[in-house]
C-alpha cells in the first residue's frame, strides 16, 4: 500500500503551480499603494519637524493628559474585559444553557456595529436621563461625559477580543489534565489557579493585548460619551482630529506618529505572544 502511495504520479512530479508572479505582484503593489506608502508618508512628514518641535508637541500638557487618559482608560477597560471576558468564554465553552448559540453570536456585536452607532447608544444609556445614567446619578456616579464614560465605551469595544481569543484555548484544554489534578487531590480553585490559567496564559495575554491596542486607537464609540473636555476627557485620537481641524498638520502628525509607534510595538508583542502559544501547544 505504502509503495503505491509513494509512486502516486501526483506526488512524484510536483509541478509548479502557476500564478506566483501575478498574485504576489498584485499583493505587493496594492499593499504598497494603500498601506505602506501612505504610512511612510506620516514618518516623512514628521521628519520635517525638528526634534525640539516634535518633543514640544508631544509633551504639551494637553497632549500628555490625552496620552494618560487613552493609555490608562484602555488599561482599565482591558483589565475589566480580562476578568469578565474569561468568565464569558468559560461559560460559553464549558456549560450548555438555553440560548447559548445566540449569546455566542452576540459577543461579536462590538465588531459588527459601526462605532458611531455604539457611541450614541452608550451615551443615551448612560446620560443623566438615560436608563442607566439616571440611577447611577442617584448614587452620585456621573457615568457619561466623564472618564468613566470613556472606560465604559472601551470595555464595550474590547470585549470580543478577549472572549474570541480565549474560547479556542479553553476548548483545546484536555479534560485529562484536570482529571489528573483532581485525582491528585486538587480542588477546583487550585486546578483553576495551577493548571487551567497557566495553560491558557498566552491566550489570556494575547486577548488582553488585542483589547488594549484597539482601545488606545478607538475613536467613534468614545467621542460621544466622553464629552471631550480638554485635559479631562479628551482621548488622543480626538486630539489628532482637533489639531487637523485647526490646520495644525505638524501637531497632528507628531501625535499620530506616537500612536503608530505604539501600535507597532503592540503588534510585535502580539505576534511574539502568538508564537509562544503555538510553541506551547506543540
Amino acid at each position: 500500500m505504502a509503495t503505491i502511495a509513494r509512486s502516486n504520479p501526483f506526488k512524484r512530479r510536483p509541478g509548479r503551480i502557476p500564478g506566483f508572479g501575478l498574485t504576489l505582484g498584485i499583493t505587493l503593489s496594492y499593499l504598497s499603494l494603500i498601506v505602506l506608502i501612505p504610512l511612510l508618508g506620516l514618518f516623512i512628514k514628521t521628519a520635517e519637524l525638528t526634534w525640539s518641535e516634535f518633543w514640544g508637541t508631544i509633551t504639551d500638557a494637553r497632549v500628555l493628559a490625552s496620552f494618560k487618559l487613552s493609555l490608562g482608560g484602555s488599561l482599565i477597560a482591558a483589565l475589566v474585559n480580562l476578568v469578565f471576558g474569561f468568565i464569558v468564554a468559560w461559560v460559553l465553552v464549558r456549560y450548555s444553557f438555553p440560548g447559548r448559540k445566540i449569546v455566542d453570536a452576540l459577543v461579536d456585536l462590538p465588531f459588527a456595529m459601526p462605532t458611531a452607532v455604539s457611541g450614541i447608544a452608550l451615551t443615551a444609556l448612560y446620560a443623566q436621563n438615560g436608563w442607566l445614567g439616571g440611577p447611577l446619578e442617584g448614587v452620585g456616579i456621573k457615568a457619561a461625559f466623564s472618564r468613566m464614560g470613556v472606560i465604559i465605551a472601551l470595555i464595550f469595544i474590547g470585549l470580543p477580543f478577549v472572549v474570541r481569543t480565549l474560547q479556542p484555548a479553553l476548548a483545546d484544554l484536555e479534560a485529562e489534565i484536570e482529571e489528573a489534578a483532581a485525582s491528585l487531590g486538587a480542588n477546583r480553585i487550585q486546578t483553576l489557579r495551577r493548571v487551567i490559567i497557566p495553560a491558557v496564559l498566552p491566550a489570556v495575554l494575547t486577548g488582553f493585548a488585542l483589547a488594549f491596542a484597539r482601545a488606545v486607537g478607538e475613536y467613534g464609540s468614545v467621542v460621544f460619551i466622553s464629552g471631550n473636555m480638554p485635559m479631562r476627557t479628551e482621548i488622543t485620537p480626538l486630539l489628532i482630529i482637533t489639531k487637523l481641524e485647526q490646520f495644525d498638520y505638524a501637531g497632528a502628525t507628531a501625535i499620530a506618529v506616537v500612536l503608530l509607534v505604539f501600535s507597532f510595538i503592540m503588534l510585535l508583542s502580539i505576534n511574539i505572544l502568538q508564537l509562544w502559544s503555538t510553541a506551547r501547544s506543540r
Binding site: 499593499l31 461559560v91 453570536a105 459588527a112 458611531a116 479534560a175 485525582s183 486607537g217 502628525t253
Partner: protein, 298 residues
C-alpha cells in the same frame, strides 16, 4: 486481564468526573455573571437604539428617511462598499494564493503587514491620506492644478475604507488555504488544467465559505467605518456624508429621533451580519476540519 483493567479505568474516570466539573451553584453563578455582563454591555445598547428611534412613534421614525441628505448618505455608503468589497476580494484571493501556495522569503513578514491596518487607529488611517492627497500633502498641489479632489471628496472616502477593510478577506482565506495545501491544485495541473481553470474549478469550491465569511465582515466594516472616513470626508451634506457620518451630524444637531432612526438601519445591518456570520462560520469550521483530516490521512 486487559479487559478488566480497561473496565476499571473507565468506571474510575466516570466516578471522578464530578471532581473536574463545577458544582451547580458555581455553574449557575458564573452563567448569571456572564449573561448579566453581556446584557449590560451588549444587549442594552442595542435595545436603546430602537427605543430612541421609535420614541416619537412610527411616523416620526419613517419621516427621518424622507430627507434627501439621508438618501444621499445611504447611496454613498452603498457605493463605497460596492467598490471596497470587490477590490479587497481580488486582493485577498491574490494574497492568500501567493502566501499559501508558494514558499518564499519574507512570507511571514507579509502576513504581518497585511494585518497592519487592524493595528492602526482609524484616525491615523484617515490622517495618512490627508497627508498624501490633502492640499498640504505630497500630491496636493499637483491634484489642485488638475482640479482633482480626493480629500473632502468621494475618492478619499473610498481610499480610507479600502485601507480599513484591507485585511478582512485575506486573513480569512490564509489559514484555510494553508491547511488545504497544494495537492488538489497539483493534481489538476497534471491533468492538464491551466491556472484560471484550476482556481475556478478546484480552489474556489474549496474556499467559498471562507471567502463569503470574509466578504460579510469586510462589507460590515466598509459600511460602518467612522473614524477614518470622518477625517477625510469634510462632512459635506448630501455629498461626502456616509451613513455613520450622517448619524453623527444629526446627533450633534440634537435631532435625536432622526439620528437613532438612521443608526437603527446600521444596527439592523450589524444584526444581519452577525446572523450570516454564525451561519457561515459553521461551514468554514467544517471545511478547515476536513482539510486537516485530509492532511493527516495522506
Amino acid at each position: 486481564m486487559a479487559g478488566t483493567v480497561s473496565i476499571n479505568l473507565a468506571s474510575g474516570s466516570r466516578a471522578q468526573a464530578p471532581a473536574t466539573r463545577d458544582a451547580p451553584i458555581v455553574r449557575w453563578t458564573l452563567i448569571a455573571i456572564a449573561l448579566g455582563f453581556l446584557a449590560l454591555f451588549l444587549v442594552l445598547p442595542l435595545v436603546v437604539i430602537f427605543a430612541e428611534a421609535f420614541r416619537e412613534g412610527i411616523g416620526a421614525y419613517f419621516a427621518s428617511f424622507n430627507d434627501p441628505d439621508a438618501l444621499a448618505a445611504i447611496k454613498l455608503t452603498l457605493l463605497t462598499a460596492a467598490i471596497a468589497v470587490p477590490v479587497n476580494v481580488v486582493f485577498g484571493v491574490c494574497a492568500a494564493w501567493a502566501i499559501t501556495k508558494f514558499k518564499f522569503p519574507g512570507r511571514s513578514l507579509l502576513v504581518t503587514l497585511i494585518d497592519l491596518p487592524f493595528a492602526v487607529s482609524p484616525v491615523v488611517a484617515g490622517l495618512i491620506f490627508v497627508l498624501v492627497f490633502g492640499l498640504q500633502g505630497w500630491l496636493g498641489p499637483w491634484l489642485a492644478e488638475h482640479d482633482i479632489k480626493v480629500i473632502f471628496a468621494v475618492p478619499g472616502i473610498v481610499l480610507a475604507t479600502l485601507f480599513i477593510t484591507f485585511p478582512f478577506v485575506a486573513r480569512e482565506l490564509i489559514p484555510l488555504m494553508e491547511e488545504q495545501g497544494t495537492e488538489e491544485e497539483q493534481a489538476a495541473m497534471t491533468l492538464g488544467a491551466r491556472g484560471w481553470t484550476i482556481f475556478r474549478r478546484v480552489t474556489l469550491p474549496n474556499i467559498r465559505w471562507a471567502l463569503l465569511y470574509g466578504v460579510i465582515l469586510c462589507n460590515a466594516r466598509a459600511m460602518g467605518e467612522f473614524g477614518a472616513v470622518s477625517v477625510v470626508s469634510g462632512h459635506i451634506r448630501g455629498e461626502t456624508n456616509t451613513l455613520p457620518l450622517h448619524v453623527e451630524i444629526l446627533y450633534n444637531e440634537y435631532s435625536f429621533v432622526a439620528a437613532f432612526a438612521t443608526a437603527s438601519l446600521l444596527a439592523v445591518l450589524a444584526i444581519v451580519t452577525l446572523v450570516l456570520k454564525s451561519l457561515v462560520e459553521y461551514r468554514v469550521r467544517r471545511q478547515i476540519a476536513r482539510a486537516a483530516i485530509g492532511e493527516e490521512s495522506s
